[in-house]
Amino acid sequence: MNAMTNAFTHRDHPVLRVSGLTKRYGDRIAVEDAAFEVYPGEVLAVVGESGSGKSTLLNCVSAQLKPDAGRVEFLTRHEGMVEIFAMSESQRRFIARTDWGFVHQNAEDGLRMHVSAGANVGERLMALGQRHYGELRREAVDWLSRVEVDATRIDDLPASFSGGMRQRLQIARNLVTRPRLIFMDEPTSGLDVSVQARLLDLLRTLTRGLSLSAIIVTHDLAVARLLAHRMLVMKNGRIVETGLTDQVLDDPQHPYTQLLVSSVLQP
């Protein structure tokens, strides 16, 4: 049977369900009462101005930050929907290492800068118990070529890589365990436009080819247009509008979304 028809990848059942999620920093509300779902194979873009709570929301739903209220449920491989903050610490860490991926804005935050590119790619596999050196090396070569990093650079440190290469290495390091959900915070900002285009094309190919779900935080509406099936628009910690990407960009309903869309050239 085709893996796509397995219950846990069935398109009609969400892989992630967020409800009533609130996070405060002292008196300041960073995210208020957020609710949304992500389906298998779906790319969801979170947009909004800086300070609107996008990264806080992403960090809460990826369990890097504990929310003050609300639920985040993830579709586990064997136990159905499980609330991630109700899991044991070790179960949560296991899921984060196998079923999830994190692509940070600064590649240095997502890579281990003092070990080789190959070791960066192999690390998550080793954490899963894979010890066979030849096998690890073969996987590393395979993934470096998939993200278009010259495989002869396998023993080099990421410090010697360009910004675009580091970002692609970070993606390889995350995808090697075939995660089902990947969290990305401004993955293309800080890169040259031509380098961005290459990375976006790569992300698009990988999310399609692997039927991967993704939540991508971006301030760039053109990135959302290119990659995302659906969008959330945030303002002052609240989700003010959600919908299909073309709906939100071409027929925005909320005053804030209309302002956001009209202030850029043809996203």
Binding site: M4, R11, D12, Y39, G41, E42, A197, R198, L200, D201, R204, R208, G209, L210, S211, R225, L226, H229, R230, G243, L244, D246, Q247, D250, D251, Q253, H254, P255, Q258, L259, S262
Partner: protein, 234 residues
């Protein structure tokens, strides 16, 4: 091809421009029409009459202000105006296509793969099925006279007419049961327009339900089974 039909009941669309003091722009008021499988219904009316707006409401890009847009397939009838996002995405994968004269280019993807991707759809695939899809894509590119030297080049640098033809190739390589055509032949040369007309008629003969906009009268006469004047809907 599976068949499907469209039934629009009392569709209204008013744009509210919040940053223009909440100005209201009524575009459609009580539009009703039906398109059956094998029919090509053409919308007629002056610029600004709301023809494109109506097509975009059917595709779900614009949110209806009132009314129903029922799409009936063999499986079910779905009202686009109230369907969940996932339901609309599913219909866009297997039932409804929207074709304009503009190709939204994807950086770095060569023309042949832009077309092949629409054969494969949004699901994982292997090398073999990619090869077969490229074969089908070639056939369409040839038919639309895209020079072979351009097949492996991303369309970003193509001329307007070449991009337009790539866009038509990707939409007609696997015609869906419902085709929404927003002036797909605008500014094509006579020879290519004749080819596209033939492709639209073939899709119609295979049972596609087509709702389209064609400014050129000769094209309209060649494809339309019925013409509806937008003046009825304002």
């Amino acid at each position: 091809m599976n068949s499907a039909s469209i039934q629009i009941n009392n569709l209204s669309k008013t744009f509210v421009l919040h940053n223009q003091g909440g100005a209201e722009l009524p575009v459609l008021d009580g539009a009703s029409l039906t398109v059956m499988p094998g029919e090509c219904v053409v919308l007629d009316g002056p610029s600004g009459a709301g023809k494109s707006t109506l097509l975009k409401c059917v595709y779900g890009t614009y949110r209806a202000s009132a009314g129903e847009i029922l799409v009936t397939t063999r499986q079910a009838t779905v009202d686009i105006t109230t369907a969940r996002d996932q339901e609309v995405l599913r219909l866009r994968r297997d039932t409804i296509a929207y074709v304009s004269q503009f190709l939204r280019v994807i950086p770095r993807v060569p023309a042949i793969d832009v077309v092949a991707e629409s054969v494969l759809g949004d699901i994982p695939h292997d090398e073999d099925s990619l090869k077969r899809a490229r074969f089908e894509a070639q056939h369409l590119l040839l038919r639309l006279r895209i020079p072979q030297r351009l097949w492996h080049v991303p369309p970003a640098t193509f001329s307007g007419g070449e991009q337009q033809r790539v866009n038509i190739a990707r939409s007609f390589v696997r015609p869906l049961p419902v085709m929404l055509l927003d002036e797909p032949t605008a500014s094509l040369d006579a020879e290519n327009r004749t080819t596209v007309i033939a492709m639209i008629r073939e899709a119609r003969d295979q049972g596609a339900a087509i709702l389209g906009i064609f400014h050129d009268e000769a094209t309209r006469n060649a494809v339309a089974s019925r013409v509806i004047n937008m003046a009825e809907f304002q």
